[in-house]
C-alpha cells in the first residue's frame, strides 16, 4: 500500500504561548540519564565468587593463625574455692561475712605467655544487659561534682535508708552497687606477679564519663550490701575497676579486664593463685573464672572469625568452580536466544 503524502500540513506551532506547557527537555526529566547497567552474567558471577574466595581464604588463614597464637589459660574457681562443708549451701557460705573467703590454688601455664598478659574475670549467666540493670545508673552524677542528688534513675540504690539519713549514694544505681569484688593475687616461684590495674578502662570513660572531682559517698553503707566497696578518698575517674564494671557487658557471659601482668610467663610455669572469693554468684548459679590471656592484632583467642572467613571463602570458590563447570558444559553463546523464550507460560494469554 503506497502512502501518498498529503500536501496539506499542519501549521507548525508558532508562538511560545501555544506550547507553554511543553515539558522542558532534560536528560534527567526524560529519565534518560547515563547509567551503568551491569547484569549478572555468568562471567561476572564466576569472577566475583573467585575474588571473594581469593580474598577470604588468606584473610581467614591469617586471622586463624593470629588467634591460634594467643595463649589463654582459664581457671574456674567458683566451685573449687568453696570449702567442702559448704558445697551444699554455697549461698550461706558466701553471705556469711565471718567466713574466711581466701582460697589458694595452683595453675600451670603450659606454653609461654609473653607480656602483657591480661588478667580477666569471667562470669556467665550474669545479665548485665538486663534493662533494669543497664538503666540503673546516673551519668551526670558520675561526671559532675555537685550532682549527687541526680539519682532518679537509680532506684532502689538511690538513697541510703531513712535510718541512715536518706543521703544520696554516689555512685548510685544497681550497677555500681553490684560491683565485682573478688580479688586475685598471683605469684610464681614465690615471686609476686604484679597486676597492673592502671589503664584497664577506656580512656574516654576516665576522661569524660567519670569525674576526677567526684568521690564516692554513702556507698555500701547501709541496707543490703551488694558487691565491692570503694575507697572514698579516690575520685571516680581513678576507680578503674568501677569504670570497667560500669561498662555493661553485651551478653550474659562476659569477661572483664582485671589487670595486666607486665612480665612474661614461661612455659610450664606454676602459678600460685590467692583468690578472695567474695562475689556472690552462687545465688543465680553463675560460674566464675579467672582467665589469663595474651592478645594479638585480632584480639583474644577466638577461631570463629578465621573459620568463618575460610568457610565463606571456601563456599565462594566451590560456587565459582560449579558455575565455571556449568558454563563450560552449557555455554550460552553471544546472542543465543534459546534461553529467551517468552512463551513459557501459556496461561498468560487468557
Amino acid at each position: 500500500m503506497s502512502e501518498e503524502p498529503s500536501s496539506t500540513s499542519v501549521s507548525v506551532a508558532d508562538g511560545q504561548s501555544k506550547s507553554a506547557k511543553k515539558p522542558k527537555y532534560s536528560r534527567f526529566s526524560q529519565q534518560e540519564l547515563d547509567a551503568w547497567q551491569p547484569i549478572l552474567t555468568p562471567s561476572w558471577a564466576i569472577s566475583i565468587f573467585t575474588v571473594i574466595g581469593l580474598i577470604f581464604i588468606p584473610v581467614g588463614l591469617t586471622s586463624l593463625f593470629a588467634s591460634d597464637s594467643v595463649m589463654e589459660v582459664p581457671f574456674r574457681y567458683d566451685d573449687e574455692c568453696l570449702p567442702p562443708n559448704s558445697k551444699n549451701d554455697p549461698v550461706a557460705y558466701i553471705k556469711d561475712d565471718t567466713q574466711n573467703k581466701t582460697c589458694n590454688k595452683k595453675l600451670t601455664v603450659k606454653t609461654k605467655m609473653t607480656a602483657p598478659v591480661y588478667v580477666y574475670y569471667q562470669l556467665d549467666n550474669f545479665y548485665q544487659n538486663h534493662r533494669r540493670y543497664v538503666k540503673s545508673r546516673d551519668d551526670r552524677q558520675l561526671r559532675r561534682k555537685g550532682s549527687d542528688n541526680d539519682v532518679s534513675t537509680c532506684s532502689p540504690e538511690d538513697y541510703t535508708p531513712k535510718e541512715l539519713g536518706h543521703n544520696p549514694i554516689v555512685p548510685c544505681g544497681l550497677i555500681a552497687w553490684s560491683m565485682f569484688n573478688d580479688t586475685y593475687k598471683l605469684s610464681s616461684k614465690n615471686k609476686e606477679l604484679a597486676i597492673n590495674k592502671k589503664n584497664i578502662a577506656w580512656k574516654s570513660d576516665r576522661d569524660a564519663k567519670f569525674g576526677s572531682d567526684v568521690y564516692p559517698k554513702n556507698f555500701q553503707v547501709g541496707g543490703l550490701i551488694g558487691g565491692a566497696r570503694l575507697n572514698e578518698s579516690i575520685p571516680l575517674s581513678e576507680q578503674e575497676d568501677l569504670i570497667v564494671w560500669m561498662r555493661t557487658a553485651a551478653l550474659p557471659t562476659f569477661k572483664k579486664l582485671y589487670g595486666k601482668i607486665e612480665t612474661d610467663i614461661e612455659d610450664n610455669e606454676e602459678i600460685m593463685l590467692v583468690i578472695e572469693n567474695n562475689y556472690n554468684t552462687y545465688e543465680f548459679g553463675a560460674r566464675k573464672s579467672l582467665v589469663l590471656s595474651t592478645t594479638t592484632w585480632v584480639g583474644g583467642r577466638n577461631h570463629f572469625l578465621g573459620m568463618a572467613y575460610m568457610l565463606v571463602g571456601g563456599i565462594s570458590l566451590v560456587l565459582a568452580v560449579g558455575f565455571l563447570l556449568m558454563y563450560v558444559m552449557h555455554p550460552r553463546p553471544l546472542g543465543d536466544p534459546s534461553y529467551l523464550s517468552w512463551n513459557k507460560n501459556p496461561g498468560i494469554l487468557r
Partner: protein, 1224 residues
C-alpha cells in the same frame, strides 16, 4: 454499513416546530406534598416570604477540608491507617517507663512522617480550592430590579433571581427557561458535561413567559414556582408556575441545568430554582471514590502479617520474660540479687509476674516496632509524587496541538498502570476525534480519493518495520501529522474530480448528480460568515457536515436554507462558471435507525421533481431500479473495501418523479401524517417505502470517522502486551463496528458474535401490552443468544478462532442482570474483542464493575466525555482524555492525557517502571526492616527478654530516616530495568505486571526470609566473633555499646549493598545515595560520638576510640557483609542464568548488543509475540494467511463471503502458545 447518524427527533422540527402542550399530569398533583415542597418567588428573592425559605446560596465547594477542619480531619485520616495509629500509640507510650528507648527519639520520625503527608494533602486540597474559586467567581447577568441587568458572580446568585445567559455561556445554576431570542422561546442546549451527548437539546419555555424578550420587561415580572425538592435525577422535573393567577405545569422541557451550555441561541432569560449543592449536577456528584492500587492493598496485608509477627514475637518474649522474672525470687530468696527483685517497680516485680509480663508486652511492641517500616508510607508517597512529576514531564506524552502534557491527578495509582489487564475505552473523542472526514467516494463505479486511510497507513507502516527498517518509524510519525487536512471534515484528494476537473471525466453527469445530491440531501444549516463570505455548517452529526463540506469543496456550495428552499452555488459544466441555483424543498423523509436512509424531494429550477436518497447499502441496493444498476458490481466491491478499512459508507441514489406520482404521494403522505391512529407510523412508513424505489445508483461515499493519531499502532502494541481492549460506546452498532475495523479490533476472518435486541421478533415484543412478559421474553432471547455464543466459543477454542463479541445496549441491560452476568462475562473474556454499543453511562460503569470484581484483574477506563465519568470512577484506573470536549472526564479521572496513543507510553513505559519500582521498593523495605528488627529480637534472647535494645536510641530511630531511606527512594524514583525504548520494543515485558511477577507472595516471602537470614548472620556472626574475649590488641573486651555499634555498622553496610546488588541501574543518583548513606553513617557516628557524653551517652567516642583502631571491627564488617549477601547473590546468579525473567532477558539482549540488530530483534520478538488476536499485527498475519490460502488454489472460494475464515485452518502462529511451551 450505514452512515451513523443520531436520531433526529428535534432537528426535524427546525422547519415547523410545534410545541405539544404539557398537560397537568397526575404527578403534578404531588406538588406541595412531601418531596415537592420547594417554592420559588421569581424575581423577588429579597422578599420576606422568600427569605424565610432560606435556600442555600450558589457557592459550590468541592474541597475535602476547610481551613478550620483541615488539622483535625486530616489528622484523623492519618491515624486511621493502622500503622500510623500504632506509631502514635508507641510515641505516647515512649514517654512512660515501659518504653525501651527515649521518647524524643521516637516521636521525631513520626512527626516527620505525619507532617509530610499532611503537607501533601494540603497542597492537593488547595488546588481544588483554586478551581472552586474560579468557578464561583464566574460572572453572569442578573436582574437587579427596575429592568436592569448587571454582572454578578455565580456564587452570589439566589433562588428566584432572573438571569440572562448569552450564547455559549454555561448556566450558573438550574434555571427555568422564561424566554429566548426566538419568538417561540426555544433554545438549544449542549449537555456534554452532563451526559456526554454532543447533540443539542431543544428546550422551550412556557407560552406565558415567551414574550419576555427584553431586559426591561422584567421590571414587574412576578411569579411563584412550586416544584420538587432537590434530587439527582437529571431527566425528570415536576413543577408548576403561577402566572397571573393561573397554574402552568413545568416539565424538564423548561429546565436548564447547571454546567450545560447555551448553543445556537443568542440569549435566554431564566429564573434560578436550584442553587449550589441543590443543583442536579451537584446532587449527582458523588465523592470520587478513593482508589488504592492492588499493590498497596497487598502491602497492607503484608503489614498486617508483620503486625502479627510482631505480636507473636512480643508475646513469646513476654512469656519468657514473665518466667525469668518470676524466678528471680524463689522461696523468698533473691536469685539475681544484682537486679534487686525484692525492691522493684511493677515492671520487673517477681511477685507480680503476670503484670510484669503484660507491661513488658507493651515494651516489646515498641522495641520490635522496627519490623514495621514507619517510613514506608511516607517514602511511598514521596516516591509516587516524584513519579507523577516524571509522568507529567514526559515530553513524549505532550500534545503540541492543544498544549497539553500528561497530568497525573492522583499519584496513588502509578504502579497500577503497570498491571492493567483490560482497557475499557470510550469511542468518540477517545479512539476517534469525533470528526468525520470525507475521504473517498465511488462514483459511477470509479473509486476516487487517494488519501490513505488510517488502517492503510498503519498496515504499510507495519510492513516497513517488519522488513527491518526501524529507522523509518520516526518518519512515519511525522507522516501522520502530514496527512492532516487543513479543512475540517475534508481529507479528499483526487485531481480527477477536484478543481472542477470532474467535468472532463467520462461520467461527468453522474458526478454532477452525485455532488448535487450531497449538497441538497441533508438537514444541515449554513452559517455565512459576513466578513469573509465563507460558509460553515451547523450539522447535527459530523458526518452530515462532512458531506456538505465535501460538496462545497468540490464545487457545490450550499449557502442558504429556508423552510422551502435550498440554495446552492454550483459549478455549471457547460459554462464552467459558478451559478446560483435554488431547489424547492418539498419533503424531507427523515432518517431513522430502522429506515437507515434519508431522502429529500426537491423541485429544481427546470421544474423537474427529484427524489434524492442516501442510505446504508443494506437497504439501498434493494431499492435500485433495474436500469439503475449499471455500476452496482463495482460499487459493491468498493464498499466492501471501504468497510474493511473502517470507513462509513453510504449509497447515493436518485430518481426523477413524475408530477402525478409526486402528487399522489404528497396527498397520501400529508393525510397519513395527520392521521390519529395507533399504526400511523406504519402507514407513513409504507407510503415512504413506495416512493423510495426504482432508484438510480450514483455511487457511494466513504467517510472516515477520524481516528486519533496513532490509535491503531497503540492498540496493536497494547494487544502485543497482552492487554485486552473493550470498546464501550454510546454509538450505534454499525458505527462501532466500523471503528472496530479501523482500529483492527475486528477484521475479516474474525467471527463476530452479535447480540442484539434489535431483531424483528423483539420489535413485536416491544409492542406487547404486557410489559413484564415482553421483558421476560427479551431476556430469555438474550440468554439464548449468549448460550449459543458460548457454545461457539468452546468449539472455537479447539481451532483457535478469534471471536469478537458485539452487544447492544438493550441486550446489555439483560446481560448485566445478576443471574446472567457471569455467563456474559465468561463469553466476553473468551472473545478477542468486545464491543458494547448503545450503552448508557451507567452500563459502562456496570460493565467496568463486572470486569473488575468478577475477574479480579486490573481495569483501566479511558474516556473523554461526561458520560464516561461513571466508568472512570468505577475502574481501577480512570484515564481522561483532555481533549476538546468538556472537562468533566478529566476532573474525575486519575490521570489525564491528551491523546489515546499516549496510553502506550503511559502503560508500557511509565506503568511498567512504576510497578517495578514500587514493588521492588516495598519488598526491599520489608527486607531492610526485618534485617534490622530481628537483630533486636535475637539480642533479647541474650538479655533475658528484658527489653533492652542492642543499639543506641538515636541509631535506631534514624535507621529508617537517614541511613537506609534515600537509596530506596532513589530506587522508587529512578530505577529502570530496561530503557523506555526497549519497553516499547518488547511490549510483552508488560506481562510482568499483569501476572504480578514482581510482587508475588513468593517474592515477598523470599525477601522477608532474606531479611531474617541477614539479621541472623549479622547478629550471630557478630556475637560469635566478639563474645567475651578481647577484640583488640590492648585487651579490652566488647561492651554493649561496642557490640551495638558494630552490628549497626554491619546492618547499614548490608542493607545498602543489598540494594546495590539488586538493582542494575546506576546513575549518579544511585551511587550518591547508596555509598553516601554508608559514608554518612560513619560521619554520623563520628559526629555523634564527638558530642558531649550527656547527649551521646553510649555512643561517646565509640568509633574513634574503640572501633576504628581495631582491625577485627573492619574484618568483621567485611565478613558479615559478604556472608549476608552471599545467599542472595547465589540465588540471583542461578536465576539469571537459568530462569531469567522477562526484563532480564531483555537485559541480556541489550548486553549482547543486539538491540540495534533488527533481524535479531525480530527473531526475539517473534518468539515473544504470542498470537495476538487483535491489532494490525494480527491483521497482517491474517491477511498473509488469507493470501496464502488463496494461492493454494481455492479459486472456487467466494471472496466476499464474510465468514470466509470461519472454518479455515489456523496457522502455526496461533498455535504457538501451546506449541512452544517449554519446561522451566
Amino acid at each position: 454499513m450505514a452512515g451513523g447518524r443520531r436520531r433526529r427527533h428535534h432537528f426535524g422540527r427546525i422547519h415547523a416546530f410545534t410545541c405539544g402542550k404539557a398537560s397537568l399530569k397526575e404527578e403534578h398533583s404531588l406538588i406541595g406534598g412531601p418531596g415537592f415542597s420547594r417554592k420559588v418567588y421569581c424575581n423577588d428573592p429579597e422578599s420576606a416570604t422568600a427569605s424565610l425559605l432560606n435556600y442555600g446560596d450558589n457557592y459550590v465547594r468541592t474541597t475535602k477540608y476547610t481551613l478550620a477542619t483541615f488539622i483535625p480531619k486530616s489528622l484523623f485520616e492519618q491515624f486511621r491507617r493502622v500503622a500510623n495509629f500504632y506509631f502514635l500509640v508507641c510515641a505516647i507510650l515512649s514517654f512512660f517507663p515501659v518504653s525501651p528507648y527515649s521518647g524524643v527519639s521516637n516521636v521525631v520520625p513520626l512527626l516527620v512522617v505525619v507532617a509530610a503527608t499532611m503537607v501533601k494533602e494540603f497542597i492537593e486540597d488547595f488546588r481544588r480550592k483554586k478551581q472552586d474559586i474560579e468557578m464561583n467567581n464566574r460572572k453572569v447577568k442578573v436582574h437587579r430590579g427596575g429592568g436592569d441587568f448587571a454582572y454578578s458572580k455565580w456564587r452570589d446568585l439566589k433562588v428566584g433571581d432572573v438571569v440572562r445567559v448569552e450564547k455559549d455561556e454555561f448556566f450558573p445554576a438550574d434555571l427555568i427557561l422564561l424566554a429566548s431570542n426566538y419568538d417561540d422561546a426555544i433554545c438549544y442546549v449542549e449537555t456534554m458535561n452532563l451526559d456526554g451527548e454532543t447533540n443539542l437539546k431543544l428546550k422551550q419555555a412556557l407560552e406565558g413567559t415567551s414574550k419576555l424578550q427584553e431586559d426591561s420587561y422584567f421590571e414587574n415580572f412576578r411569579s411563584v414556582i412550586s416544584c420538587e425538592d432537590p434530587n439527582a435525577n437529571l431527566y425528570t422535573f415536576v413543577g408548576s408556575m403561577e402566572l397571573e393567577d393561573q397554574q402552568y405545569p413545568l416539565s424538564p422541557q423548561q429546565l436548564l441545568l447547571r454546567d450545560s451550555k447555551l448553543r445556537n441561541t443568542d440569549f435566554v432569560y431564566g429564573v434560578v430554582i436550584f442553587t449550589g449543592h441543590d443543583t442536579k449536577v451537584m446532587q449527582n456528584a458523588t465523592d470520587p471514590p478513593s482508589k488504592r492500587s492492588k499493590i498497596e492493598k497487598r502491602m497492607d496485608k503484608i503489614i498486617y502479617c508483620l503486625f502479627f509477627l510482631l505480636i507473636v514475637i512480643s508475646f513469646i518474649g513476654s512469656i519468657l520474660f514473665g518466667i525469668t522474672t518470676n524466678d528471680d525470687i524463689e522461696n523468698g530468696r533473691m536469685k539475681r540479687w544484682y537486679l534487686r527483685p525484692d525492691d522493684t517497680e511493677i515492671y520487673y516485680d517477681p511477685n507480680e509476674p503476670v503484670a510484669a509480663a503484660i507491661l513488658h508486652f507493651l515494651t516489646a511492641l515498641m522495641l520490635y516496632s522496627y519490623l514495621i517500616p514507619i517510613s514506608l508510607y511516607v517514602s511511598i508517597e514521596i516516591v509516587k509524587v516524584l513519579q507523577s512529576i516524571f509522568i507529567n514531564q514526559d515530553e513524549k506524552m505532550y500534545y503540541e496541538e492543544t498544549d497539553k502534557p500528561a497530568r497525573a491527578r492522583t499519584s496513588n495509582l502509578n504502579e497500577e498502570l503497570g498491571q492493567v489487564d483490560t482497557i475499557l475505552s470510550d469511542k468518540t473523542g477517545t479512539l476517534t476525534c469525533n470528526s468525520m472526514e470525507f475521504i473517498k467516494c465511488s462514483i459511477a463505479g470509479v473509486a476516487y480519493g487517494r488519501v490513505a486511510t488510517e488502517v492503510e497507513r498503519a498496515l504499510s507502516r507495519r510492513h516497513e518495520s517488519d522488513s527491518g527498517q526501524e529507522l523509518k518509524e520516526n518518519k512515519n510519525i511525522a507522516k501522520v501529522g502530514e496527512s492532516k487536512s487543513s479543512i475540517k471534515g475534508f481529507n479528499f484528494k483526487d485531481e480527477r474530480i477536484m478543481n472542477g476537473n470532474w467535468m472532463k471525466e467520462p461520467n461527468a453527469n453522474v458526478i454532477q448528480n452525485f455532488l448535487r445530491l450531497l449538497a441538497v440531501c441533508h438537514t444541515a444549516i449554513p452559517e455565512v460568515d459576513e466578513g469573509t463570505g465563507k460558509v460553515s455548517y451547523e450539522a447535527e452529526s459530523p458526518d452530515e457536515a462532512a458531506f456538505v463540506i465535501a460538496a462545497r469543496e468540490l464545487g457545490f456550495e450550499f449557502y442558504e436554507r429556508t423552510h422551502t428552499n435550498i440554495s446552492l452555488r454550483e459549478l455549471d459544466p457547460i459554462t464552467g462558471l459558478k451559478t446560483q441555483r435554488s431547489y424547492k424543498l418539498l419533503n424531507i423523509l427523515e432518517f431513522s435507525s430502522a429506515r437507515k436512509r434519508m431522502s429529500v424531494i426537491v423541485r429544481d429550477e427546470e421544474g423537474k421533481l427529484l427524489l434524492l436518497s442516501k442510505g446504508a447499502d443494506s437497504v439501498m441496493f434493494e431499492r435500485i431500479a433495474k436500469n439503475g444498476r449499471e455500476f452496482e458490481e463495482m460499487t459493491k466491491q468498493h464498499i466492501s473495501e471501504y468497510a474493511d478499512s473502517g470507513l462509513r459508507t453510504l449509497i447515493l441514489a436518485y430518481r426523477e418523479l413524475s408530477e402525478e406520482e409526486y402528487h399522489r404521494f404528497n396527498k397520501e403522505f400529508t393525510e397519513a401524517k395527520n392521521l390519529v391512529s395507533a399504526d400511523q407510523e406504519q402507514i407513513v412508513e409504507n407510503i415512504i417505502q413506495n416512493i423510495e424505489k426504482d432508484l438510480i445508483l450514483l455511487g457511494a461515499t466513504a467517510v472516515e470517522d477520524k481516528l486519533q493519531d496513532g490509535v491503531p499502532e497503540c492498540i496493536d502494541k497494547l494487544a502485543q502486551a497482552g492487554i485486552k481492549l473493550w470498546v464501550l460506546t454510546g454509538d450505534k452498532m454499525e458505527t462501532a463496528i466500523n471503528i472496530g475495523y479501523a482500529c483492527s479490533l475486528l477484521r475479516q476472518g474474525m467471527k463476530q458474535i452479535i447480540i442484539s435486541s434489535d431483531t424483528p421478533e423483539n420489535k413485536s415484543l416491544e409492542k406487547m401490552e404486557d410489559k413484564s412478559a415482553a421483558e421476560a421474553a427479551m431476556k430469555s432471547s438474550v440468554i439464548r443468544q449468549l448460550r449459543e455464543a458460548k457454545a461457539l466459543l468452546s468449539s472455537s477454542h479447539e481451532n483457535y478462532e478469534a471471536l469478537a463479541l458485539i452487544i447492544d445496549g438493550k441486550s446489555l441491560t439483560y446481560a448485566l442482570e445478576d443471574d446472567v452476568k457471569d455467563l456474559f462475562l465468561e463469553l466476553a473474556i473468551g472473545c478477542a474483542s468486545v464491543i458494547c454499543c448503545r450503552s448508557s453511562p451507567k452500563q459502562k460503569a456496570l460493565v467496568t464493575r463486572l470486569v473488575k470484581t468478577r475477574t479480579g484483574s486490573t481495569t483501566l477506563a479511558i474516556g473523554d466525555g461526561a458520560n464516561d465519568v461513571g466508568m472512570l470512577q468505577e475502574a481501577d484506573i480512570g484515564i481522561g482524555i483532555s481533549g476538546v470536549e468538556g472537562m468533566q472526564a478529566v476532573m474525575s479521572s486519575d490521570i489525564a492525557i491528551a491523546q489515546f496513543r499516549f496510553l502506550e507510553r503511559l502503560l508500557l513505559v511509565h506503568g511498567h517502571w512504576c510497578y517495578r519500582r514500587i514493588s521492588s521498593m516495598i519488598c526491599y523495605f520489608f527486607y531492610k526492616n526485618l534485617a534490622f528488627g530481628f537483630t533486636l529480637f535475637f539480642f533479647e534472647m541474650y538479655a533475658s527478654f528484658s527489653g533492652q535494645a542492642a543499639y543506641n536510641d538515636w541509631f535506631m530511630s534514624l535507621y529508617n530516616v537517614f541511613f537506609t531511606s534515600l537509596p530506596v527512594i532513589a530506587l522508587g524514583v529512578f530505577d529502570q530495568d530496561v530503557s523506555s525504548k526497549l519497553c516499547l520494543k518488547f511490549p510483552l515485558l508488560y506481562q510482568e505486571g499483569i501476572q504480578n511477577i514482581l510482587f508475588s507472595w513468593r517474592r515477598i516471602i523470599g525477601w522477608a526470609l532474606n531479611g531474617v537470614v541477614t539479621s541472623a548472620i549479622i547478629f550471630f556472626f557478630c556475637i560469635r566473633a566478639m563474645e567475651h574475649q578481647a577484640f583488640r590488641k590492648s585487651g579490652e573486651v566488647v561492651g554493649l555499646e561496642v557490640l551495638g555499634a558494630t552490628m549497626y555498622t554491619c546492618a547499614v553496610w548490608v542493607v545498602n549493598c543489598q540494594m546495590a546488588l539488586s538493582i542494575s541501574y546506576f546513575t549518579y543518583v544511585q551511587h550518591l545515595f547508596i555509598w553516601g548513606s554508608i559514608t554518612f553513617w560513619y560521619i554520623f557516628l563520628l559526629a555523634y560520638g564527638a558530642i558531649d557524653p550527656s547527649f551521646s551517652t553510649t555512643a561517646y567516642k565509640v568509633f574513634i576510640e574503640a572501633l576504628a583502631p581495631s582491625p577485627s571491627f573492619w574484618i568483621i564488617t567485611l565478613l558479615i557483609l559478604i556472608a549476608s549477601l552471599l545467599p542472595y547473590f547465589v540465588y540471583s546468579s542461578i536465576q539469571m542464568r537459568f530462569f531469567p525473567m522477562y526484563h532480564q532477558m531483555i537485559q541480556w539482549i541489550r548486553m549482547d548488543g543486539q538491540t540495534s540488530d533488527p533481524e535479531y530483534c525480530n527473531v526475539v520478538r517473534q518468539r515473544s509475540i504470542r498470537s495476538t488476536t487483535v491489532g494490525f499485527t494480527a491483521r497482517l498475519e491474517a491477511s498473509k494467511r488469507f493470501n496464502a490460502s488463496k494461492r493454494v488454489g481455492s479459486s472456487t472460494r467466494s471472496e466476499t463471503a464474510s465468514n470466509h475464515f470461519e472454518t479455515s485452518r489456523r496457522l502455526e502462529a496461533s498455535k504457538r502458545p501451546e506449541g512452544t511451551t517449554e519446561d522451566r
